[in-house]
């Protein structure tokens, strides 16, 4: 099955917040929703990046 587009609405956001112990009001959720959607849209652009052979950047030095 092909993956569908990632969606996010106020109730999904509320459920995700509650699952993490965040008690957010309707006004909080309404304010957050555009920010979360915008962030997801930017992250979704990484889907075109050629990452198959790329490991995460590790910055801590071993010594």
């Amino acid at each position: 099955m092909a993956p569908g587009p990632r969606t996010m609405d106020r109730e999904t956001l509320r459920a995700l917040a509650q699952a993490q112990g965040l008690a957010l009001s309707d006004a909080d959720l309404d304010g957050l929703l555009p920010l979360v959607r915008a962030g997801r849209a930017l992250i979704d652009e990484l889907a075109t990046a050629p990452l198959d052979e790329v490991e995460p950047t590790v910055l801590y030095h071993m010594r």
Binding site: M8, L13, L16, A17, Q20, G21, L22, A23, L24, D28, G31, L32, L35, V36, A38, G39, R40, L42, I43, D44, E45, L46, A49, P50, L51, V54, E55, P56, T57, L59, Y60, H61, R63
Partner: protein, 472 residues
């Protein structure tokens, strides 16, 4: 007294070492100016009047006793208020830490003191460093000294550092840079600011925004002073495992004024071509100046820059949420509304997305390394727009409407993702008299070349010597 507040850090150190001026005079001159101007500018959150005067008297005694003096002996500095200072409030620009008094200094604070620097106070900033405008609802926003009456932003998050150094309220300051927070206020306030290579300067004792993207660095009025400050701070720190064990070169000695034969890569695509006309013109003129000094210039491009915004969205949001999670759950209303929303947004980014961002970072870093294999430095504008008035969310750039916030960080954040050293250097003014900055990016751990280019440019231009219209 006016001359002392506009003297460079190097000149102040020389005046102290030769007993021409006492550190007490220097500190008092700056404290007087802070008292006169900072009620308006709001650059400082905490002014350390008593401890600065006491340190100045001690510094004077050491001069008179002919003791060995550090390279910054008797020279005042300001610290962005996210550097831990033993016994002195460190607020992070927040109400949450409004009364927090650390029991230890940050490593860089200890190192600057060991070099002889005297801390004048703690500088204003965007709350918890999470904003490129430099706004602050808790302590008041620091106004840009170049047009404070119009309430223009300094840029952030190191807004107080930008305002203080530009206004002569300290000759040099520490900023921090997660997406451009040293370089943006440096550009908008007419300063020279350096984000060193990730791992060059310790982050121990510095309140984090995003551990893997945070950089510590100086904001001064010249490349020479940045070299002095960096030399005093850089090097491995056992308290910060991400710091490199590579030796620290003599940055001051690297400033030869010579750029003949230097190969410059000019970043047009994604950078120069999207900047406003005054910024584009000023950067092109600066490049011609460097060509005139013997550097060669060719166009280069960084195609992986298209992923920089996605990397930032994934990495900063998750790391900052991880640091703030407990406070968000228990003290949420104490955050400013803009910062609380940004932090909460990180709760909805998955672990897989975070690692996608960390993986894409490698594409950016590898490409910057590759391009810097063929040229010695990259050059771009620092910011595509000039300082806006507070509350302005969109500006016109070359006939297009551009949102202010993403515009401010567009050219700087790629080099947080890559970790390469990058400086902003004054290179002109808009028709309204607002500063413009050029960004110089170097190879990893080659801050010396970045500073050499900046210094060579400053030897033949006077943009960095101009002063804002503050009446003194």
């Amino acid at each position: 007294m006016a001359d002392l507040v506009w003297a460079s850090m190097g000149e102040l150190a020389r005046l102290v070492a030769t007993k021409a001026v006492s550190p007490v005079e220097i500190v008092n001159a700056h404290l007087d100016r802070i008292a006169a101007l900072d009620g308006t500018l709001k650059a400082y959150i905490t002014v350390m009047t008593d401890s600065a005067r006491s340190a100045a008297r001690n510094a004077e005694a050491r001069v008179m006793a002919r003791e060995d003096l550090g390279p910054l002996h008797g020279v005042p500095v300001g610290l962005k208020d996210l550097y831990c200072t033993k016994g002195v409030k460190t607020t992070g620009g927040s109400r949450i830490l409004g009364d927090w008094v650390p029991t230890e200094d940050a490593t860089v604070v200890t190192r600057l003191a060991a070099a002889g620097a005297i801390t004048l106070g703690k500088l204003n900033m965007h709350e918890f460093a999470y904003g490129p405008e430099g706004l602050n609802v808790h302590y008041g926003t620091a106004w840009n000294p170049w047009d404070w009456a119009a309430h223009r932003i300094c840029g952030g998050s190191s807004s107080g550092s930008g305002a203080a150094v530009a206004a002569g309220l300290c000759p040099g300051a520490l900023g921090s840079d997660t997406g451009g927070s040293i370089r943006i206020p440096s550009a908008l306030c007419g300063l020279t600011g350096l984000k060193p290579t990730y791992g060059r300067v310790s982050r121990a004792g510095v309140l984090p925004l995003a551990w893997s993207l945070d950089h510590v660095g100086p904001m001064c009025r010249s490349a020479v002073d940045c070299a002095l400050m960096l030399g005093a701070m850089a090097g491995h720190d056992p308290r910060d495992p991400s710091t490199s064990a590579l030796p620290v070169p003599d940055y001051r000695a690297a400033l030869t004024g010579e750029v003949k034969g230097l190969r410059i890569g000019l970043l047009r695509r994604f950078f120069l071509e999207t900047a406003g006309p005054p910024q584009r013109l000023a950067v092109e003129q600066a490049v011609k100046t460097l060509e005139g000094l013997g550097a060669s210039v060719r166009d280069v491009s960084l195609e992986q820059m298209k992923y920089a915004a996605g990397v930032a969205a994934a990495v900063i949001s998750v790391e900052s949420y991880a640091y703030h999670e407990a406070w968000l759950k228990t003290r949420g209303p104490e955050y400013g509304p803009d910062v609380r929303e940004r932090l909460l947004a990180g709760a909805f980014v998955s672990g897989a997305d975070y690692l996608k961002g960390q993986r894409a970072r490698r594409l950016i870093r590898d490409e910057v390394d590759q391009v810097l294999g063929d040229v010695d430095v990259l050059i771009a504008p620092t910011v595509p727009i000039a300082a806006t008035e507070v509350g302005v969310s969109e500006v016109e750039v070359d006939g297009r409407r551009a949102p202010v916030r993403p515009s401010l960080i567009r050219y700087t954040r790629p080099f947080n993702a890559s970790g390469h050293p990058a400086a902003s250097v004054p290179c002109g003014f808009t028709a309204d008299g607002l500063p413009i900055g050029i960004q110089v990016v170097g190879r990893s751990f080659d801050e010396a070349t970045v500073l050499r280019v900046a210094d060579a440019y400053q030897r033949v231009t006077d943009w960095h010597t101009r002063r804002p219209p503050l009446g003194a």
